[in-house]
């Protein structure tokens, strides 16, 4: 049960924090279409967060709600991937982060759609449709930027190089992952890699970008050891709930 709770936090916290980062662009994107698309992605991710953290709260059975989990935990109790807390950087950096995440997220949700837990399978099936669209869009833009101007190529490659060490964590399971995998609730983390690799080969190839060959991976996010960025995100995100405890909004 604890491993199940943990697995749900790992997913729900990742969609929450990425949704937060993406929403920081609101009104500042390079084109109106992008403002709309990013708001839409953020909206989907926050919607998924409500479902995953809602289920996590239910599984925990301590009477907490999705909002309690989102707003009343400090950084060390967050279980999101380090990748999603990285700062936005330029728009190409944001898109590359999105693509690397989407490609993983999509595989994960496909796996979760066949979860042995029907509640998980149901949420995943709904989310998979949204994320298929996220992936389609981020892939398309990565191709266009990679194979665009010299500058856009350079920026996109730099983003890929900078973010690469934060991707390995997506595929490294620990014993909690092993427990939920053994029960067929979550797919095995490592099992997602071949399809992800294949997506990257295909998309980044078309984008004329070079996949870094370093195997080095930052890790710790899924166990609660984050980068220095998460604390700032939470200070901002949680301010109202912290400053006005118990109020209803």
């Amino acid at each position: 049960q604890e491993a199940f709770f943990e697995a749900l936090l790992r997913l729900g916290d990742s969609t929450l924090i990425l949704g937060h980062r993406v929403s920081e662009w609101c009104g500042h994107a390079p084109a109106l279409e992008e403002d709309i698309a990013l708001a839409n992605v953020a909206l989907d991710l926050i919607g998924q967060t409500q479902l995953w953290l809602g289920l996590a709260a239910e599984v925990e059975g301590q009477g907490r709600t999705a909002d309690d989990l989102a707003y009343l935990r400090d950084a060390w109790d967050f279980r999101n991937l380090l990748l999603v807390e990285r700062p936005n950087g330029d728009f190409g950096h944001t898109l590359m982060r999105q693509f690397l995440f989407d490609a993983w997220h999509h595989e994960l949700l496909k796996g979760l759609s066949a979860s042995s837990d029907p509640r998980v399978a149901e949420i995943a099936a709904k989310a998979a449709k949204e994320v298929a669209y996220h992936l389609e869009r981020s892939s398309d833009l990565v191709v266009r930027l990679g194979d665009g101007t010299e500058e856009s190529h350079r920026r996109t490659q730099e983003a890929l190089d900078a973010l690469w060490p934060y991707t390995g964590e997506m595929f490294i399971g620990d014993d909690k992952d092993a427990q939920v995998a053994a029960r067929g609730i979550f797919p095995d983390q490592a099992s997602l890699r071949p399809a992800w690799d294949e997506t990257l080969r295909h998309v980044l190839g078309e984008a004329t970008l070079q996949i870094p060959d370093s195997p080095f991976a930052h890790k710790g996010g899924r166990q609660g050891t984050h980068t220095e960025h998460l604390g700032y995100i939470l200070a901002e995100m949680q301010f109202l709930q912290r400053a006005y405890p118990g109020a209803s909004w």
């Binding site: 009104g27 109106l32 930027l145």
Partner: protein
């Protein structure tokens, strides 16, 4: 009036819609471009004050609703720029005029959003005032503008209800929340009244615009209607409209109320609002920082077209 102009005016008087490729007076076109452009700019600049609270929304549900709202605003901008494009001006041209300070956006967005209650008050008052302006424009004479307005009004009234729902939560909440709600009303009441523009006696261009059905009501008519609608809503919330002279006038069947401080209105219009420089600066920065991105999409499209052409040979 030339015979053409006369015929044009007769069509409008009959309630016909003018469509993009049809003849229209140059003044009609120009006035429409200015009006639709400003409206479009208002939608995109209007993302900023509400965007300011997305990362700090107090619950996941409120965050999602606010994101959806801001997304709608960007969508409205898109419809309106498209409507303006049918008049022969591109979105990029309009944006450049905005960035150069040669076109305006609604001054209300030069006020800051300082507490979460502002997310309620903006929906309730600002969208409320916008709808009051826009509902009649669904019957405007220019077809694409009229159709854009019909879509927009539907969504705006949804936003207004959401805003009022936030105010309700706050007004029924803790003492701090009530204080936030009252504070938001205090700060946004007069700026909302200003949204209808200066008093009719000081308003330029109005008569011609009304003849052309680009403007459907006078500023003062709409302002009165807004006050009459909003005051009971404030009372229902248990909030006090910050106007000691506000009172019901049985005879006219509406409220008597204080005029906003029009010197503040002209000051903000002249660039001295609390946020003018920050708002326009944010938009210009977004545009400039994004130049490489837009260029890349163009170049990629050219490359792709060239490849397709080559493949077809």
């Amino acid at each position: 009036m030339t015979p053409e102009e006369l015929a044009f005016q007769e069509r409008i008087d009959r309630g016909e819609k003018i469509e993009p490729k049809e003849w229209m007076p140059e003044g009609y076109r120009k006035t429409l471009i200015r009006q639709i452009g400003q409206h479009a700019h208002s939608e995109i600049v209007g993302q900023l004050p509400e965007g300011n609270w997305i990362t700090r929304a107090p619950t996941l549900e409120r965050k999602a609703i606010l994101l959806a709202k801001v997304q709608d605003e960007a969508g409205h901008g898109l419809y309106l720029y498209s409507a303006a494009e049918t008049l022969g001006v591109s979105r990029d041209e309009l944006m450049e005029l905005l960035h150069a300070g040669k076109m305006k956006y609604s001054s209300i967005f030069n006020y800051p959003t300082l507490t979460w209650a502002d997310m309620g008050a903006v929906g309730w008052l600002v969208d409320g005032a916008a709808i009051m302006n826009q509902v009649p424009l669904q019957r405007t004479s220019y077809g694409p503008y009229s159709r854009a307005m019909i879509r927009i009004c539907k969504e705006e009234s949804f936003h207004q209800r959401q805003g009022y729902a936030i105010m309700m939560k706050m007004a029924q909440g803790t003492p701090a929340q009530k204080r936030m709600a009252q504070d938001a009303l205090n700060r946004l009441w007069y700026p909302s009244l200003m949204m209808f523009g200066p008093s009719d006696k000081d308003s330029v261009h109005s008569a011609q615009s009304m003849a052309w059905k680009i403007k459907m009501n006078t500023n003062d008519e709409l302002r009165q209607k807004f006050v009459d609608q909003t005051v009971p809503q404030a009372e229902y919330l248990g909030l006090t409209v910050p106007d000691p002279d506000l009172k019901w006038n049985e005879e006219k069947g509406g409220y008597d109320f204080s005029e906003p401080d029009w010197s503040e209105f002209y000051d903000v219009l002249a660039g001295n609002g609390p946020c003018n420089k920050d708002r326009l600066g944010a938009r210009v920065k977004a545009w400039e920082d994004g130049a490489w991105f837009r260029d890349a999409l163009v170049v990629h499209a050219e490359k792709a077209a060239a490849r397709r052409a080559q493949a077809a040979e």
